[in-house]
Point group: C2
Chain length 211, copies 2
DNA sequence: GTCTATATCGCGATAGAC
DNA sequence: GTCTATCGCGATATAGAC
């Protein structure tokens, strides 16, 4: 019983730290988001914080992981069966596209997270960055499922069938990621609308009322 | 006379430092590219190095600036008149596209630079990052000229005329940038081919031999 | 298990001697 | 133009208090 209570307290603290870290990133920016600042914000010493997360990088990775989880749930609830179940079988392609754009739209409300993601996705170029494994798995997982959706979209005539599904998915991924630093420099940029425009390009050409 | 010699020596030293910095980034990665390491590589003390560049960030910005200059020259020599002259008037659209892809192809040979660029383009999200102004100007300049080229490409029937040139340019920019972190994680990825595929999508639809 | 205090080490940067 | 010395700050390992 007491073990459970202690455990529960630890979980709660972890989440308090995650939330405080995100706050600090959002307020002071990634560069000034030191372990000290975050520890202060949550009322802990730096060492106390590192009792819950082995390193600063692991803390930040955990934030992104939590975000992915929440986004995954959006796909789940949009379509019935699961993103998390690893095959995305129950999600209809239109719903998946719509949800993807909704996630991008939501991103525009959380610049701190966007900055954190952009930062880490660049940092993991380093072969022994602690978050590298996470990014590799995340990319592999997300792209594999997205390819299934895109293929289905092509079968159903929603997307042009002459394009490589893997190419489409990679392009959506790279485009969405690449827009983020540009948006951080220019908040006027509407990332979701921009990607939506690209998706229009993927739709089959109408019978051409040419002449 | 002696003033001139000293100046030339200073210039040479600056370039030696730039080159050493790039080496260190390429070899040890951006994270370990400390001022100390770079200073060692060029046979200087950290303070001695900072005589030439006021800060680490300025040094890295200078590297990217030098790269941009070289890339700009590629556009110049590809088309006659100048990228640098600010209007790109003399460059033919096909040549510009070809040169753009050549730059991407070249990037695959310099992962250190690519990592540095990805890193900095994320860092400048911070409103008072020293390289922020550089990135803002660079984006503004490059996109303005690229819009001219794309517009001309549309007038000449090379690209679909129903797409917003500014959207095309932004997409090319974001796509090229977004592919870079993905490529750093997966060297199999052919960035130039990938973007080339997108450019295919921009070409006018043929008269549709539909039925 | 939770947390603080302390210590270490590497970093970028500055001041001032040469 | 370049060094040495030094500062302040960052992350984090360790010891041990509760």
């Amino acid at each position: 019983m007491s073990g459970r209570a202690v455990y529960a307290k630890g979980i709660a603290k972890r989440e308090a730290i995650l939330s405080a870290a995100l706050d600090v990133v959002a307020t002071h920016g990634y560069r000034r988001a030191s372990v000290r600042e975050i520890a202060d914000a949550v009322g802990l010493s730096p060492a106390g914080l590192l009792h819950y997360f082995d390193s600063k990088e692991e803390l930040f990775t955990a934030i992104l992981r939590a975000r992915d989880e929440r986004d995954g749930l959006m796909f789940d609830s949009a379509g019935g069966r699961s993103f998390t179940a690893d095959d995305g079988a129950g999600v209809r392609p239109e719903k998946a596209i719509e949800t993807f754009l909704a996630v991008l739209r939501h991103n525009a409300a959380v610049p701190g997270l966007v900055q954190l993601y952009a930062q880490l996705s660049a940092e993991v170029a380093d072969p022994d960055h602690p978050a590298r494994a996470y990014f590799l798995e995340r990319t592999e997982h997300a792209e594999r499922i997205a390819v299934l959706w895109v293929s289905r979209a092509q079968e159903e005539g929603l997307f042009r069938a002459d394009l490589d599904p893997a190419w489409i998915v990679r392009t959506l991924h790279a485009l969405a990621d690449g827009l983020q630093p540009l948006w951080l420099l220019d908040p006027e940029l509407d990332m979701a609308a921009h990607v939506g425009q690209f998706i229009e390009l993927l739709k089959p050409v109408p019978p051409a009322p040419e002449r």
